[in-house]
């Protein structure tokens, strides 16, 4: 397990993004969006993506969400902005690997590392992945899958 940051820091990261989400905004136009709703949590969010020439120019979200989904989705936005599509997909993959306790590339996950303990509370995996799944769906959909 990566030990570059401690529990207190992880906790702080989650609380910061929950109390002051940086990317929780509803954009006007120029974004592709997707709606995602969880059956067993209140999570009911939209994720918005603005891609230009294969680069993520912006990523936003809005809706109702618990602490875990708010913070994880917000951090996701932070991570993928200014990345190209391939890099964004790589980040999503590595995040899922971490959540499912597989080997993963810590380098690209930044603050998302705060969710490394999610599997301790298995019922909340859905909350910790709802934003990432939505973004993955947008990226797949874009290719007409």
């Amino acid at each position: 397990m990566p030990i570059s940051i401690n529990n207190e820091m992880m906790r702080q990261i989650i609380m910061d993004h929950y109390q002051n989400p940086l990317h929780k905004k509803t954009p006007k136009k120029g974004y592709v969006s997707i709606h995602s709703k969880s059956e067993n949590c209140i999570d009911d969010i939209n994720v918005y993506l603005k891609l230009e020439k294969g680069i993520v120019k912006d990523c936003l979200w809005d809706g109702t969400a618990c602490t875990i989904s708010t913070a994880s989705t917000d951090i996701m936005c932070e991570l993928v902005i200014n990345k190209n599509e391939k890099e964004a997909r790589y980040i999503i993959d590595q995040y899922f690997k971490m959540i499912h306790e597989e080997k993963f590339d810590e380098e690209v996950l930044g603050e998302a590392i705060a969710f490394i303990n999610t599997s301790k509370q298995a019922a909340r995996i859905k909350c910790a992945t709802i934003g990432f799944k939505a973004l993955e769906d947008i990226l797949n959909h874009k290719h007409g899958k």
């Binding site: 529990n7 207190e8 992880m10 906790r11 989650i14 609380m15 067993n40 949590c41 209140i42 109702t64 618990c66 602490t67 875990i68 303990n117 999610t118 301790k120 509370q121 019922a123 909340r124 909350c127």
Partner: protein, 407 residues
């Protein structure tokens, strides 16, 4: 005498641990634990008495038929009905669907009105939406009072000359209020309105007498009353069952049919029991009702009432707890911790070994009414204890729900 310590020995699940803590199970409105006698009864069917019912000339089949018959009688006695008014279903949801799609679809027409409340479980809402689509009948919601309770006055106000069916829970699964069912039935019958009662949260917790209540239909599930999953009951007044379409047809429910599509169905209740029944479930249900009878439904009701009062008293001592249904009669207590999303608190409680339900409890419409996106629901049963409430209270007092991830 009611002795909770002794009762707890009957339930193997109560020895379970969750997240390395002794399990405190406070989600009994969702499902309940089974006493060993129920598990043994299910095993008896699978280990020693497996066979189909109505299907053979040998002893095992005869025995299965007898068990079916005996169980029907045990259920009938439990709710003071007649044996031929008891239909085996897969659970409350199927029972409610049978009333809607078997009875109502064939008796309602365009612009007739169906009365529901905003506190109904999805299983007592969505089948009615279907009825509305199929018949053109309209759905109307009876107003709940300020605290979310269904009152006779508001039922009276909602009834019009077009009202044909009132479909309501005896006890609501979100707020736990007990509806004045007897009075509602009396009023409804004066207007020739049928009352379809959802008993999923009432039958397991208090004595039920369908004749005294006057309900026309009553639906409930085995698994919420110490019985197995996949078995439930629809009670219907016999005349009404006779006018109910089986919805599901097949083997075991017809007298005769020919190649010209003529078919004659069996009389109720077997008319509604096409195909092989959940016999293990029926063995288990019988054992569960016998178990409840041994303890006594009055005792169960009384004990839960005391436990609820204790829980409310203790909860009120915590400053940042909001209680949404302080005056409810049942073991359902709906709360929130200020500034903490219900799911986050529920996760923290999970980390302490405490099982409660967070979320919308299937009654999604109610959120508009409660004005909170989600709540924490504590629901008690007769095997819960004051010590377990103390454990809950202690956990609720703890500050930081993110401890669930980092401790």
């Amino acid at each position: 005498m009611f002795n909770v310590k002794q009762i707890r020995h009957d339930f193997p699940m109560l020895n379970t641990k969750m997240q390395n803590h002794p399990l405190v199970f406070l989600d009994n409105a969702s499902t309940t634990f089974k006493p060993l006698s129920v598990v043994n009864a299910i095993n008896q069917y699978y280990l020693h008495e497996t066979s189909n019912s109505h299907r053979g000339d040998y002893d095992l089949c005869f025995h299965a038929d007898q068990m079916l018959d005996k169980t029907r009688q045990v259920v009938a006695d439990f709710i003071r009905a007649d044996k031929n008014e008891i239909v085996f279903t897969s659970g409350a949801s199927m029972s409610l669907n049978l009333v809607a799609l078997g009875y109502a679809v064939n008796h309602l027409k365009k612009n007739d009105e169906i009365l529901l409340t905003e506190a109904e479980h999805a299983s007592n809402v969505l089948p009615w939406y279907k009825v509305s689509k199929l018949t053109g009948a309209k759905i109307r919601f009876i107003k709940l009072d300020k605290v979310g309770r269904l009152t006779l006055v508001n039922v009276k106000k909602a009834i019009t000359s077009r009202t044909k069916i009132i479909a309501i829970a005896h006890v609501s699964n979100v707020l736990g209020y007990l509806s004045p069912m007897k009075e509602i039935c009396q009023l409804a019958h004066q207007h020739k309105i049928i009352v379809a009662c959802d008993g999923a949260q009432s039958v397991p917790h208090r004595p039920t007498n369908v004749k005294d209540l006057g309900v026309d239909f009553l639906s409930f599930s085995g698994h919420k009353m110490c019985g197995p999953t996949g078995i439930g009951i629809l009670y219907g007044r016999y005349e009404l069952l006779k006018q109910t379409d089986p919805v599901i047809s097949g083997g075991g429910m017809n007298v005769d049919f020919d190649a010209n599509t003529n078919v004659e169905y069996l009389d109720p209740p077997t008319r509604f029991e096409a195909g092989t029944l959940n016999l293990a479930g029926i063995y288990g249900l019988k054992a569960s009702i016998e178990y409840l009878n041994k303890i006594g439904m009055k005792n169960i009701e009384q004990y839960e009432k005391e436990l609820r009062a204790y829980a409310i008293r203790e909860l009120k001592k915590i400053n940042d707890i909001i209680i949404y249904n302080e005056t409810a009669e049942s073991g359902i207590i709906t709360i929130n911790k200020k500034q903490v999303f219900a799911q986050d608190e529920a996760t923290f409680l999970n980390s302490q070994g405490i099982a409660v339900r967070s979320g919308q409890h299937c009654a999604k419409i109610l959120n508009v009414f409660l004005k909170t996106p989600a709540t924490l629901r504590i629901s008690l049963y007769f095997y819960n204890t004051k010590q377990e409430i103390d454990t809950l209270i202690k956990a609720l007092k703890k500050g930081d729900y993110l401890d669930a991830y980092f401790n």
